[in-house]
Subunit: 189 residues, 2 copies
């Protein structure tokens, strides 16, 4: 008997789940449907994944773990770096809105894989002259703002609600980010 297909892996399950939720929405991600998509029975998934919640959390974790950690130039300022990271994160969330909405925005930003990335950003801020306490606040503020903004953004896009003509999310996001950095700059030595 030849093995007719590669054995499943956790990553393969999560990748398929992401593709499914992206294309068909949260309702399509059921154990049975996802398994069928992988050419397997529902119960097989439990060998690679703890349960359904694990899939929901795992999708976002996988995407975040694949985000390039430092796209900025080597000699980039803290402002450039923070700007780039927040925009990367925003773009990721708007590219996969259902993935991030699926866990209710409820997952800690720093968890496991991305903890290292967080640490690196905080170090950048400290090296730039921010006291540790302020650097932590700025990190927390920046990430919460970015996440909250992306979530609201998608919610408006999906709702039938008409929005003022002057409304422009990209512009508002950039102004918000700039305002935050301007505001925190006063803590620099």
């Amino acid at each position: 008997m030849v093995r007719v297909r590669e054995p499943l892996t956790r990553t393969a399950v999560l990748e398929r789940a992401i593709r499914l939720i992206d294309h068909e929405g949260p309702g399509a991600v059921t154990m049975r449907r996802l398994a069928a998509e992988l050419g397997v029975e529902a119960m097989s998934l439990y060998h690679h994944v703890k349960n359904k919640q694990d899939i929901l959390d795992g999708m976002a974790a996988l995407l975040i773990s694949r985000m390039p950690t430092l796209t900025s130039a080597d000699d980039a300022s803290w402002r450039e770096i923070l700007h780039d990271v927040c925009w990367s994160y925003r773009n990721l969330m708007t590219a996969h809105p259902n993935v991030f909405a699926a866990q209710g925005g409820g997952r800690p930003l720093i968890s496991g894989e991305d903890q290292l990335a967080a640490q690196r950003i905080i170090e950048v801020l400290e090296r730039a002259g921010f006291p540790l306490e302020i650097a932590l606040d700025l990190f927390q503020v920046g990430s919460s703002f970015t996440r909250g903004f992306a979530l609201s953004d998608v919610a408006y896009r999906d709702s039938e609600r008409t929005v003022p003509d002057e409304w422009d999310s990209d512009r508002a996001f950039d102004r918000g980010l700039t305002a935050i950095m301007d505001g925190f700059a006063r803590w620099l030595d």
Copy 2:
């Protein structure tokens, strides 16, 4: 035959749902369980509520509609007003984390009941001297920041992840809000 209990109302259903999700978590809010809680059969709920999603959305909408719109003094500055509104919203979200997590942070902030409140804040900002475009951006930034911050906050609280000692969410939130207001102040005439 005496009527033994008041007929149900949409509000009563939503209030009970809020109490249920607050005390027993999202898993407890099923049509059958909620109905039992109200001394009724599951199918009766459909006379007062469109479906389950309607309940999920309705809980948050009800809480928001009951938020006092202007707690600030009459002669309060735009900074005081924005500060108070954002803190009220933050406090509401942390008081009912499951309600707001249940809809994935995915509901537009301005919808129906709260649209008036939003309009009032934007007017405050315009009267203070912000051009309309900037006032809209500031509103969007402030509300997204507040929502995102509360969501992250609850996520950390619920996770077992240990967080740096210097981490203080209330302090960070207030600094973030101050930074945003400082940053936007440059657009004043």
